[in-house]
């Protein structure tokens, strides 16, 4: 833990110095904002962006599973008709207030924490966070111990119990490793939007917004400033990249 604290403070120090340097060199009142979209393929991701999502539960329709099916199709996740062990990267959850009987429907997936417990517990370093905030499993070094699955407070990760019949080449998946939402990293790296967000807007609900939460001009940042965005289990202090409205 102390190690990651050191890293965070070092990173924020570097960012602050960089911002200060930028503010010095550019005329007062004029700030450069890095346009994060469509990064060149040969450039590494940087911490100048942090990808996040904002989900408006008021717009999320109960019974609609467009995001779930889009995720399954996009990443080639097939059901074996064994719900207890089938892989699942995103699921719909219904919350009901026992007193008022008020129901809220929302999609639940990897929350892409700033300080992810799955990364803390991983014994091999397979579970990691990219510079741009996306939390991934490097399945080349995952040994399938499933500590991360136990550490995740959001039950966001699944284990591949069976041989996978791959249908897509951009999302290699295999038996014996842990997997979870990648925020459609293969799309994001090419300037795209995650499949679930796209499906939600195609279904005309528009309950999900994806974007760079470090860029104050992005749609998601504006919405977050205006309406706020709650973290699920905010008490854990994980600073999640996925935020919710209306819960």
């Amino acid at each position: 833990m102390s190690n990651s604290d050191v890293n965070i403070s070092r990173r924020s120090f570097v960012e602050k110095s960089a911002t200060a340097a930028a503010a010095l060199t550019i005329a007062p009142g004029v700030f450069l904002h890095t346009v994060a979209e469509a990064k060149p393929a040969d450039q590494a991701v940087t911490s100048a962006v942090r990808w996040g999502m904002l989900i408006d539960t008021a717009k999320c329709a109960s019974g609609c599973t467009a995001c779930v099916s889009a995720c399954n199709t996009e990443n080639g996740i097939a059901s074996h008709d064994r719900p207890r062990t089938d892989q699942q990267w995103i699921r719909k959850v219904t919350l009901r207030d026992k007193q008022t009987k008020h129901e809220v429907s929302l999609p639940m997936m990897c929350q892409h924490c700033e300080t992810p417990p799955c990364v803390d517990v991983c014994p091999t370093g397979a579970s990691f966070k990219r510079e741009d905030g996306i939390v991934l499993v490097d399945r080349h070094i995952c040994i399938g111990c499933r500590y991360c699955m136990m550490a995740c407070p959001y039950k966001a990760r699944s284990f591949a119990h069976e041989t996978v019949d791959l249908t897509v080449d951009y999302q290699p998946r295999g038996k014996g490793t842990v997997e979870s939402c990648t925020m459609c990293v293969h799309r994001v790296d090419e300037g795209g939007t995650p499949a679930c967000v796209e499906a939600c807007s195609e279904a005309e609900h528009g309950a999900m917004i994806f974007g760079d939460i470090k860029n104050p001009d992005s749609e998601i940042s504006k919405q977050l400033v205006e309406h706020g965005g709650k973290q699920i289990r905010a008490d854990l202090g994980l600073n999640t990249g996925v935020r919710y409205r209306g819960i």
């Binding site: 393929a41 399954n72 009901r96 290699p172 790296d189």
Partner: protein, 154 residues
Amino acid sequence: MQQLNKRMHNTLITIAGLAMLALSAFAFAGEKPSFAPSVPHPTNGTTECVQPEDEMKKNHMKYILHQRDETMHDGIRTKTYSLKECINCHVPKDSEARFGDDKHFCSSCHNFAGVSIDCFQCHMDRPMGSKPLGKNPHGAQVTPTVSTHGANNE
């Protein structure tokens, strides 16, 4: 007696040396020995790989491994040394050959050399869009279905 042994030893060394010379001459002649595997050629009409053939034969794994870590951790998605592009170029889309068959580009050599790799336990061993061949013996549905498991949590 000792001298005789020494002479025999020298003779053996000379014979071995000559044999090696003959073998290397055979190799340098550019002729493929009959026992060498037949490696399928690229399917998209190109005749040149991203590096000269000799270099690729020797070091393809280094290029792929390097690219693997860059893509995974830094999101660098250049195509030159990506495993996906190896497959797109070297495996015909309509091929029924899977990794492990002698006809598959990678295994044609790997079977011969007796080097096992685990790339294709996760990666596709044929280009995307090829017919899924049903690796899972338990009859999984290949068409993804909606799972609502975990819904209705109170």
